[in-house]
């Protein structure tokens, strides 16, 4: 017995729509923000701790942090990572320009810190694609950090 599609379309259309909706709700939706993709506050906190460790063991950049308070740096960097990844945080630290003004950070120093961040992201187990998304956002801050 063949099905007359035209006759049954009034029933078929809602059935099809329901089937599609059900299928959609069963597949996980992509992460809403980079913050979610990173893994939220727990991962960002772990990343900050690993980043601080990498800097502490990096002779190229540690002298620059001689006058910094580790606790304040940790608190503010967590806020900053969270905020830049579109997470639910407000960054209450100084601007990048304010923090780095007068330090005359050069290209080699900037790159050294990028390498430290990459090592920290590796240690934290962040996927390469996610790392690149975060790096891309942070890289845009370079003119506010270098050469001032």
């Amino acid at each position: 017995m063949s099905v007359n599609l035209t006759k049954h379309r009034l029933i078929l259309m809602p059935v099809l729509a329901l089937a599609l909706l059900t299928a959609c709700s069963n597949t996980p939706s992509p992460p809403a923000t980079l913050y979610d993709e990173l893994g939220g506050q727990a991962v960002i906190t772990e990343l900050a701790d690993n980043f601080i460790m990498e800097i502490a063991y990096d002779e190229r950049v540690l002298p620059r942090f001689a006058d910094s308070s580790v606790d304040r740096f940790r608190e503010k960097i967590i806020e900053h990572f969270c905020w830049i990844a579109d997470g639910p945080c407000i960054y209450t630290g100084d601007s990048m320009v304010q923090v780095h003004a007068g330090m005359q950070i050069n290209s080699a120093e900037f790159n050294a810190v990028v390498e430290d961040l990459i090592a920290a992201m590796d240690k934290t187990g962040i996927a390469l694609g996610t790392q690149n998304k975060l790096l891309d956002r942070l890289a845009r801050l370079r003119p506010e950090i270098m050469g001032i």
């Binding site: 080699a108 790159n111 694609g129 690149n132 998304k133």
Partner: protein
């Protein structure tokens, strides 16, 4: 190469040496060397100039960043159906601004046991931009001077000269978050010159003028130290007697650290001196300091 060329090259290198002198070492010796990010030294092309395998890129060789000096040496072998090309050479990089390079090319015609050797000297200057950290591309201008040691073949095939200079303008850009969320690079060159088969078959032919040719490279950083890419190089095809095809390759370059790189590629050099479909492999090792 003329005395004029030598002195110009030496003057530029000396100036770069002075300008790139190490102001940072006094402050922090740990910052004295290799300030650039892994992979951004690129590799050594067959002319000795830094970049890809078949073409130079806008990158400045070595890991020397502003205020630093560095360099590298390399050894390359290209093996296609009827020919083999051995290259060795090196480059010096000053402050991620100036690159001077040298290569000795040794081209062998397998069937005839014939060798053609050529010296290549190059200089490249980054004039604008930063390949990673600026929206605009990095732009470099370069010169490659080739001089044949074995001139017989070039003369036999009707080349006008046994030495010649290519001028290149390169533009390159890296997107940290590129294709498939992988770091991606694109490089485009415009070259003005008249080299036949990279100069192996001499310079110039029936056409009195030099020619503009285009070159392109695209690559993806599969991981921080492993790059896969393609290159395409247009050729001037000056000699009416011998067709010259555009060259291309697909490569994989591995940067385990800032001291070493290894590159393997499949190359297609097309028709060379009458022998068609010259395809084969390319292997290169580079040591940096």
């Amino acid at each position: 190469m003329t005395a004029q060329h030598y002195s110009a090259l030496l003057t530029t290198a000396a100036t770069a040496l002075v300008l790139g002198s190490n102001v940072l070492a006094a402050d922090n010796p740990a910052l004295a060397r290799q300030g650039k990010i892994l992979g951004t030294s690129a590799v050594s092309s067959i002319s000795g100039a830094g970049g890809g395998g078949l073409i130079p890129w806008a990158t400045i060789g070595s890991y020397a960043d502003v205020g630093q000096r560095g360099g590298s040496v390399f050894r390359t072998r290209v093996d296609v159906d009827d020919y083999q090309l051995d290259v060795m050479g090196g480059l010096l990089g000053f402050g991620n601004r100036v690159e001077v390079s040298y290569a000795r090319q040794d081209f062998q015609i397998k069937a005839a046991s014939l060798r053609v050797q050529q010296d290549k000297v190059g200089i490249k200057v980054r004039v604008l931009g930063d390949i990673i950290f600026e929206q605009a591309p990095q732009i470099s201008v370069g010169m490659e001077r080739g001089s044949l040691r074995d001139k017989g073949l070039a003369r036999a095939v009707g080349a006008k000269h046994t030495a010649g200079t290519d001028y290149t303008v390169s533009a390159a850009k890296v997107w940290l978050n590129g294709i498939g969320n992988r770091t991606t690079l694109l490089n485009i060159n415009m070259r003005y010159g008249e080299a036949n088969q990279f100069g192996i078959l001499g310079y110039g032919g029936d056409d009195p003028d030099g020619k503009w040719t285009g070159e392109i490279a695209a690559s993806v950083f599969l991981t921080r130290g492993l790059v896969a890419g393609v290159e395409y190089r247009q050729k001037p095809d000056n000699l009416s007697a011998l067709r010259e095809d555009n060259a291309r390759d697909i490569f994989l370059a591995w940067f385990p650290n800032k001291y070493t790189s290894l590159t393997a590629a499949w190359v297609d050099l097309g028709e060379i001196a009458g022998a068609r479909n010259q395809r084969g492999w390319y292997l290169s090792a580079q040591l940096g300091f």
